[in-house]
């Protein structure tokens, strides 16, 4: 009897502890849903650490102002949020858990386009059920995802503008007249980039697409693709592929003596491995990025990232960092009460706040969300030199 009384008292204490959360606890709960295992882990971990650095900076300066009081941003569950890996079904289940059990204000995630597409569709379902919540992805960059749900936001890097600029430069400054395309078909980002971004840009600037060759992420032999590109003898090759097949393609091209004037990649090629493993054959490939590596204004962040992880920050880490500050600005503009009772209304207010959010990124660029809830970034053209990503100097690839 005495034991059961003690247990009951303990349970009541636990229940009341959870009621102390939110404003009384001095925190705003932010759900984190980044891939930390599985194939998308390299993107998710960058986004996770970038956001964590931003939150730590914000909290070190006192936190965010809510209802006249400075409160801390609390990653929920601490310290790393949940890990959905590459599993879309798990992504949906964890969104539900973060919303119902963890009672978060919003969710920062997810880490790749396939999962995010499913998650954004689920947000519409939640809205129909009367329990909407915002999901902000700093990694899913596939064009068009923003149209899916008014609750799905992205601070990824949309390549529409930068590819347009790249193609314009190639056509007008370097006289590129013909192009070949290599597309990895089992990656939705690569195929969407081909259809929605690269081909329209090439058409716009009058570059003739002589050949489109394709492959799969698991391809080991890229001789057929290289032979097709070589036979077409194109001026530039646009590579819409993931790291390994892209490196494989360029190495095979080098072995077979095929040297187009330009190799043009996408953000899918901005990985540590691309620069380090590709060797001399990938040097001077150009691609768009949301920031210029080596720029003085990002040095402190890059150093902090390296200190924490032992690795270089990349586009996904940078996006995650920016997303942290966009969340802060949105909270401060949302006028939330931050109590368990106000959570439903707060989530709606947060969405409105995010629509109005506007920050100056560490890169110096002004960031706000477009009508399709994507941040628009001008971006930089970068290349690989001596195994490092650097801002492009405007010279041909080969």
């Amino acid at each position: 009897m005495r034991t059961s009384l003690l247990i009951s008292a303990f349970m009541i204490l636990l229940a009341s502890t959870s009621a102390w959360a939110f404003q009384d606890e001095g925190t705003v709960r932010i759900g984190l849903l980044e891939a930390q295992t599985g194939v998308p882990a390299p993107y998710g971990l960058q986004g996770l650490e970038g956001t964590r650095i931003a939150f730590d900076e914000i909290n070190a300066k006192g936190g965010v102002m809510v209802n006249g009081k400075a409160v801390k941003l609390a990653i929920t569950p601490a310290p790393n949020g949940y890990d959905p890996g590459a599993d879309s079904a798990l992504t949906v289940a964890l969104i539900k858990k973060l919303m119902q059990d963890d009672q978060v204000l919003m969710i920062k995630g997810t880490s790749r386009s396939q999962n995010t597409e499913v998650a954004f569709n689920y947000l519409n379902e939640l809205e129909k059920q009367g329990s909407p919540i915002v999901l902000l992805s700093s990694a899913a960059a596939a064009p068009g995802l923003g149209k899916i749900s008014r609750w799905g936001f992205r601070d990824a890097f949309s390549e529409n503008d930068i590819v347009d600029r790249e193609v314009k430069l190639l056509a007008e400054k370097f006289g590129v007249k013909t192009a070949g395309l290599y597309v990895v078909r089992d990656n939705s980002y690569c195929t969407v980039m081909e259809q929605s971004v690269i081909l329209p840009a090439l058409k716009k600037y009058g570059i003739d697409v002589k050949v489109t060759t394709d492959g799969l992420d698991s391809d080991r032999d890229l001789s057929r693709q290289v032979e097709q590109l070589k036979a077409a003898n194109v001026d530039a090759v646009f590579v819409s592929g993931t790291t390994l097949p892209s490196i494989g393609l360029m190495k095979e091209a080098a072995r077979r003596g095929f040297k187009p004037k330009f190799w043009v990649g996408t953000v899918g090629n901005i990985t540590t491995e691309m620069a380090k493993l590709g060797g001399p054959t990938v040097e001077r490939m150009i691609m768009g990025s949301s920031f210029a590596p080596g720029a003085p204004q990002i040095k402190a962040l890059a150093d902090e990232y390296k200190k924490r992880t032992g690795q270089d920050i990349n586009l996904f880490g940078m996006n995650g960092y920016e997303a942290g500050y966009l969340i802060k600005d949105a909270i401060e503009k949302a006028d939330i009460a931050n109590t368990p009772e106000s959570l439903h209304d707060d989530r709606i207010k947060f969405r409105d706040g995010l629509e109005k959010a506007s920050i100056t990124s560490i890169t110096g660029e002004k960031l706000r969300f477009s009508d399709e809830r994507d941040t628009v970034k001008q971006g930089f053209i970068i290349t690989i030199r001596n195994g490092e990503f650097v801002e492009w100097d405007g010279k041909p690839t080969t």
């Binding site: 295992t37 599985g38 194939v39 882990a41 390299p42 971990l45 078909r185 089992d186 394709d214 492959g215 799969l216 698991s218 391809d219 080991r220 032999d221 001789s223 057929r224 693709q225 032979e227 790291t243 390994l244 490196i247 494989g248 190495k251 072995r255 077979r256 990985t271 540590t272 491995e273 380090k276 493993l277 992880t309 032992g310 690795q311």
Partner: protein, 303 residues
């Protein structure tokens, strides 16, 4: 025409690594009539061992270092195979035949996630792909208008040599013949005084050593290794053994090369996107027309 010949030749050359994957897979199945799903993870771990050795000893510039990388992969594969038998099979000897399927999936997930974490914490590894430096990388030559990569040829020669050694072991040695008896009928093997458990451990060691060799050769050919490389190879290995005949070593040899040829020729003649569809269509047709595979195994079973 030379182009099609090149696709065919590359398929045969690279397909030999699939044969090694499939042989290891099928010897274990043939002996204990259980699928070792951790075979893919064994390939991956062994490939990492080879890559690490090659990075540390300078495999990009030295044939000796590359040879030592191969030895490291084979030894790691054998050791891991024995460990998998000890952890995921031996305690479950009397359990349902599906139980080791689950335990080896667990071993696979644990190893993949462990290497994912190592990839992010060991300075010589990279988060997504770790390099496998090889002096053979840029070696290539032309024969009759066909372009052949040196690493593919070396891979084929080494695979073929291993298959010959395996054939000699199975047919000419006492321990190899014991494996065949256990495959045929473990009860008879016991009556003949054969230590069946010892044979099973030997089979795991040999099969996983071959997996290690395959991991090293594939890593060398591709130039990288990754925590998830084994999953795809496991599927390929499974297709190869079903095509060749479950439990049949020679069927696995043929099946692996067939898979390599189907993959390369499909990609070359049709398109990469049809690669797996065509492969599984061939598998489907084989199962319909010749369910026992190209070379059927002995019919004795335990269950």
């Amino acid at each position: 025409m030379a182009q099609y010949g090149e696709y065919l030749l590359n398929g045969i050359l690279f397909g030999s690594t699939y044969s090694l994957v499939a042989i290891g897979f099928t010897i274990i199945f043939g002996t204990i009539h259980r699928l070792n799903v951790a075979h893919g993870a064994t390939i991956m771990v062994a490939a990492f061992a080879g890559a690490t050795t090659s990075i540390l000893l300078g495999g990009a510039d030295s044939y000796l270092a590359l040879g030592l990388a191969f030895v490291a992969s084979v030894a790691t594969g054998a050791l891991l195979g024995v460990l998998v038998e000890l952890v995921a099979f031996r305690p479950l000897r009397d359990a349902s035949y599906l139980t080791p399927f689950v335990t080896t999936i667990a071993v696979t997930i644990i190893l993949e996630e462990l290497f994912l974490k190592l990839s992010r914490s060991v300075p010589i590894f990279y988060p997504e792909y770790t390099p496998f430096p090889s002096i053979l990388e840029d070696l290539s030559f032309e024969v009759g208008g066909m372009y052949i990569r040196g690493v593919y040829l070396v891979t084929f020669i080494v695979s073929l040599a291993l298959m010959v050694v395996l054939h000699l072991w199975i047919t000419r040695t006492r321990s190899g013949r014991a494996v065949r008896v256990v495959e045929e009928n473990p009860d008879v093997a016991r009556l003949l005084g054969i230590d069946v458990r010892r044979v099973e451990v030997t089979v795991f060691a040999v099969a996983s050593a071959l997996a290690g060799a395959a991991g090293c050769l594939i890593g060398m050919s591709v130039g990288t290794v990754s925590p998830f490389m084994g999953s795809h190879l496991l599927v390929i290995g499974f297709v190869a053994i079903v095509l060749g005949g479950l439990g049949n070593v020679y069927g696995a040899m043929i099946g692996g090369i067939l898979v390599g040829v189907i993959e390369t020729v499909t990609v070359g003649v049709l398109a990469a996107t049809y690669r797996e569809a065509f492969l599984f269509a061939v598998l489907f047709l084989t199962l319909v027309l010749k369910p026992e595979g190209i070379l059927a195994a002995g019919s004795a079973g335990r269950d």
